[in-house]
């Protein structure tokens, strides 16, 4: 089968294995501005989702759904944790987008998801663009609340891991300080490895100080409970989920990220153990 160019006849591309790709004109030709607007919405929604820590298969799904809701068929998208490649094949429109920074921002995921749900219900294009441009400034929790919740997480895990009540202050101060350091260093440098390393260093130091001063009993439990806010448990699980879904590349990348985080934390704590 060579290159065929016949408007109106659509052949499913890439569904049946063994069938060759066919380049063809779209069923109905949409105006260029319209197509560009749809492209703009889809790729920016994908970017926001990826930067907020959504799973890659869900991002691909969302972007494709936005395109097909506005009547654009034959769109292809490839998402890994660091890059989005999106193209509307019928209109020869492609962009590659490099994502430098990723963090967990579930509120943004929820808002983008809501927008895509409204688009599925038939939201007009102009309104969709306006809605998308509003998303950019989502609220964040204040720093003191983040630090407080770090402390709460530390104490809760201490009790879940069957620690003694006497270690509670140590776990609270360790967890809260760890989150404070993470957030604080992150404003100056974007290298995650070091923020986690220094936070773990701090936690190990403070735990050993507490135990030596007699305000703590079980050193290991205190340290594990207070590093909980830093630890990459969710990342490991998400990596495996991506792999099972067939996104091998994303899974491996997230797994590597998780391993790196664990190494940073292990190195931070290990350094203190070696010195003491």
């Amino acid at each position: 089968m060579g290159v065929r160019f016949s408007p109106g006849v659509s052949i499913e591309v890439g569904r049946v294995s063994g069938e060759l790709e066919v380049i063809e004109a779209p069923d109905e030709v949409l105006s260029e501005n319209f197509v560009r607007d749809v492209f703009y919405i889809a790729i920016n929604c994908g970017k926001m989702l990826l930067e907020s820590g959504a799973e890659t298969y869900r991002i691909e799904d969302t972007m494709l759904r936005i395109a097909s809701n506005y009547g654009i068929e034959n769109a292809q998208v490839f998402v890994t944790p660091t890059v989005i490649i999106f193209s509307l094949n019928d209109y020869a429109l492609t962009q590659t987008l490099r994502i430098e920074e990723r963090s967990n921002n579930l509120e943004k995921v929820v808002v983008v998801n809501e927008l895509s749900r409204r688009i599925s219900d038939g939201l007009a294009l102009k309104q969709a663009i306006r809605g998308m441009e509003k998303i950019h400034n989502t609220r964040f929790f204040p720093l003191w609340l983040l630090v407080l919740s770090g402390g709460v997480i530390g104490t809760m895990f201490l009790l879940l891991f069957e620690g003694v009540p006497r270690d509670l202050p140590a776990a609270f101060i360790g967890g809260a300080g760890g989150v404070f350091l993470m957030e604080g260093i992150q404003r100056y440098t974007r290298v995650q490895f070091f923020t986690e390393f220094f936070a773990a260093l701090y936690i190990a130091t403070i735990s050993i100080v507490f135990v030596n001063l007699g305000y703590g009993l079980m050193l290991d439990t205190i340290i594990i409970a207070s590093v909980m806010p830093l630890v990459p448990g969710v990342l490991i699980t998400n990596a495996i989920r991506e792999m099972i879904r067939g996104h091998l590349m994303a899974g491996i990348m997230k797994g590597a990220e998780a391993a790196l985080t664990a190494i940073a934390i292990g190195a931070g704590v290990g350094l203190v153990f070696m010195l003491v």
Binding site: L106, R117, S149, G150, V152, I153, V179, I236, I244
Partner: protein
């Protein structure tokens, strides 16, 4: 009584992570309960002497079912509740332990911890995906039945 205590602990642990992950304010309580239910099921099976990996799987199964219910009720994506809810189950502590032993030159212990962490994450991922798949199948069947009625 012990269960209420455990429930409260895991509730606050999950909700605390909800704050760290910047979850929407009106979803924090649901995030907490999702995690708490997962942990309670895990804890029940652990007390009954079930294997750690199997108990994690069953806990993940429960929590993702509750996450799906919550996401229907609040019209929010499932990932929100799952990310916060798996926190108590997730083997972050084990992963840290493995790396700490590597740094301390105790490689065999590290390997043990590492494999355990990998297996538990696999079990949790399987639990979440099984529930999601079951839900998808159910939805498809329901849609088909509806179409036949019309």
């Amino acid at each position: 009584m012990v269960y209420i205590y455990q429930f409260v602990l895991s509730f606050f642990a999950s909700a605390g992570f909800g704050v760290l992950f910047n979850a929407p304010r009106n979803a924090l309580v649901s995030c907490g309960t999702t995690g708490a239910f997962g942990w309670i099921v895990f804890h029940l099976f652990r007390e009954g002497g079930t294997d750690l990996v199997l108990a994690s799987f069953l806990g993940a199964l429960t929590l993702s079912a509750i996450a799906i219910l919550n996401s229907r009720r609040k019209k929010m994506p499932i990932i929100l509740f799952i990310t916060c809810g798996i926190i108590p189950l997730v083997p972050g502590g084990l992963a840290y332990d493995a790396m700490r032993h590597v740094v301390l030159n105790e490689y065999m212990t590290a390997l043990e911890y590492g494999f355990e962490a990998a297996l538990i994450s696999l079990a949790i991922a399987m639990g979440i995906i099984s529930t999601e798949m079951a839900d998808q199948v159910l939805q498809t069947i329901r849609k088909k039945l509806k179409r036949e009625e019309v």
